[in-house]
Symmetry: C2
């Protein structure tokens, strides 16, 4: 049995903490199952649980290119199937199966269970996922699903409608999208299940579908032909057309942390960061990623989130609407995490014809940047702390606290951090930020060599 | 008749917008009386009204040294009596009268009406203030007061208790501090008045009190002996002991904008700055001085304020408690306004033994800094926009966009802005920010001369 964690999401639902560079599954806001005081991301929590269940070895994470560094920084041992472009879940599932087939050691007759990366659940969830293999064999279903037995008539989840009950599995009669409260109560009465978004498929079936779209079934080949796959969801392309679906019931705790009110309820503390939450407040959580304090007085049922990208104050029941509001903001992410460190935007200004951008960069010990140049901007760097070195046009320049260097247009440069390396970089030019980065292949030692020569 | 605007305040009540460097009376949040769409500060609004009433020519503003540049930047023509140190209102009133006597052309027999700088009121208020002179002459009172006829039984104001009614004025029987609602209703029934904090005195009487404390009555002399004056409020030292007080009634609109709920109700719009206030919100005002957006969804009766110093979310009835909360914050002001421009703190960090501070500085066209040096820090400047020049150890260096300069410890320097001058300065050293500024007397042209020689 093989597993896929599907890591998508435009990152707007948990604005202002999440953004394209840091979707919600990477925010370190939940607690580890093993240690309720240690904060981790949804991805890290789920990965811990997969390891605990002995599933991590046969799991691949499928994600867009922009998430690769972040995944590696949070789960070093993760294998990643990289989507060549965002093409919805049907294409992502085919890609995942091609990866398992070409690189993961799976055969066409193996099964793969595809799971969302962000359920908030307990260990028995993963045992239930494992049981899908057996259900698939015994039921002969095209797709196996997993449904959580509802604890209350939720209007936020989709439901799986049950048909006949077999031994350990249920025939699926259909689906109901988010119902109103009366409908939800009726669905519960009928034994309907919350749709956990997990589906189990035979890998060979998926590879055949890839070939049906004119794409090869091996991973590299499918990557190259990725644009031949239709831009459609797995639900729409497969589930809604399938005639033979089986579901297993999951009886444990399960929650989709897709909105601030759901996530706030799972936070290990009511406040994160520099916050004064007055005693007179009720049922209120506050997350502050800024340095300046947040004071909250006399409110109830609110979530308050302050981050570089913006500030949110929302009544909990309204928090699902954050996505709409956030979509209207022009959004250069203000805080970005990378494999090698972090970038924090302190100021960006536009003047006649030219722009400036001031960022604080932290590079982890021993990490190096690419060797690159900028065609349309100068950069002025001032070292705040630690030590490192700059390669500037092949010349090695040691960097230490208080040192400043100017890197002019078209000057090739790379930086290496020795220890606790932080600096302020100021971009001045026609293009600033993550644009206009022209990389040159190099090995750090070769550069040193060319300098010595 | 002469007038004094008393400008005090530690600046905590309207945190996070107000701070020591920018007390609430200077925040540009209210509208001008003449143009409801143009935002101005409380000081500017009152000054406009004094001009309209023909009183500005004989008005002095009394304030601490740290407010002088701010007052000048908002009211260029203002005359200012500068408190040598903060010594409460009794000393400030004596100083004001000494200024009027020594520098303002007043005689000992003239009267001065002392007013708070931050009432939110209308033109007739100032006509009523003028009438205090006549009341003083006719009543022979020691102090003349002004009381607003209450529109409702407020529990937030102090009350003046009325005695006999004379022709156009009222004998004052006593005072009641902030009452509860039942008491307030009873006070209204008795014809008690809201105490507007205005008092009219004979200038000679105040000068005599200064002499009674062993201080001279002229302004310069009183400044030099300011520490001989007791540290006590005018209310306590004068009003509570006086046997003969007269009050005039003011019948117009008057409000003390001392808390966020009071101020929020007078804002010309519900939002200031980059704000999305969702339609589902009720009775909520949002002020955002940051660049990143603030989104507010589904709340009611709140004030939300986001500024460099912090973020406040408060239910309106709780907003008076902001002062206590803010007092607990360690507060290097994050945004400061000066005569010559503004300073915005972007980042401050502490490392082993050394600190760094990153600020964005804007200098108004034509303005210059002092000639100074720092013993314990280096500064790296990067010009973002405009043009100016730096004098560094007597040498003139032209500054333009993208240029960077390092100013090392003990190097004397001054800067002059020609046009739209903005730069980032990074301090690295044992002391950063507004500490460790060692000024040297100089004239810009002399420096140039020494350079040419």
């Amino acid at each position: 049995m093989y597993y896929v964690l599907l890591s998508g999401g435009s990152g707007k639902r948990l604005w202002p903490l999440s953004n394209e560079a840091r979707p919600k599954q990477y925010l370190k806001l939940v607690n580890r199952e093993t240690n309720s005081m240690e904060r981790c991301s949804m991805l890290q929590r789920v990965w811990d649980q997969l390891e605990e269940a002995g599933m991590a070895q046969t799991t691949v994470i499928t994600a867009g290119r922009e998430q690769v560094e972040l995944i590696k920084s949070q789960v070093r041992e993760a294998e990643i199937a990289v989507e060549p472009e965002a093409r919805d879940t049907f294409a992502a599932v085919l890609l995942s199966c091609a990866w398992l087939y070409s690189k993961g050691g799976a055969s066409e007759d193996d099964y793969a269970a595809i799971m969302p990366v962000d359920p908030y659940t307990e260990g028995s969830y993963f045992e239930t996922v494992k049981s899908l293999e057996d259900v698939m064999r015994r039921s002969g279903a095209e797709v196996g699903l997993m449904g959580a037995v509802p604890g209350y008539p939720s209007i936020k989840y989709g439901y799986i409608l049950p048909g006949e009950r077999e031994d350990g599995w249920i025939k699926v009669k259909g689906f109901a999208e988010k119902p109103d409260e009366d409908q939800a109560r009726e669905l519960m009465g009928q034994g309907a299940l919350w749709n956990c978004g997990v589906f189990c498929v035979r890998i060979g079936d998926m590879l055949k579908r890839a070939e049906g779209c004119g794409a090869p079934k091996d991973y590299e080949g499918l990557c190259a032909s990725y644009d031949r796959l239709p831009r459609i969801s797995f639900d729409y392309e497969v589930l809604e057309k399938a005639e033979n679906l089986a579901a297993v019931e999951f009886h444990g705790y399960w929650k989709d942390l897709g909105t601030w009110d759901a996530l706030a309820d799972q936070m290990s503390t009511d406040t994160v960061g520099n916050v004064v939450l007055d005693e007179s407040c009720e049922n209120t959580q506050v997350v502050n990623e800024l340095k300046a304090p947040v004071a909250v007085l006399g409110v109830k049922d609110l979530v308050v989130v302050a981050a570089q990208d913006g500030i949110l104050v929302t009544e909990k029941s309204q928090s699902a609407r954050v996505k709409e509001v956030a979509a209207s903001f022009d959004s250069r992410p203000m805080f970005e995490e990378r494999r090698w460190g972090t970038l924090e935007t302190l100021d960006s200004s536009r003047y006649q014809g030219l722009s400036t951008l001031t960022r604080k960069i932290h590079i982890y010990d021993g990490m190096t940047s690419s060797y690159h140049f900028h065609k349309n901007r100068d950069e002025i760097w001032t070292i705040l702390s630690g030590s490192g070195e700059l390669i500037l046009e092949g010349t090695k320049i040691p960097l230490s606290q208080g040192k400043a260097v100017c890197i002019r247009k078209n000057q090739r440069h790379a930086v290496k951090a020795f220890r606790d390396f932080e600096y302020i970089e100021i971009h001045v030019g026609a293009s600033v930020g993550n644009e206009d980065i022209n990389r040159i292949t190099f090995e750090w030692d070769e550069i040193e060599l060319s300098h010595i020569l």
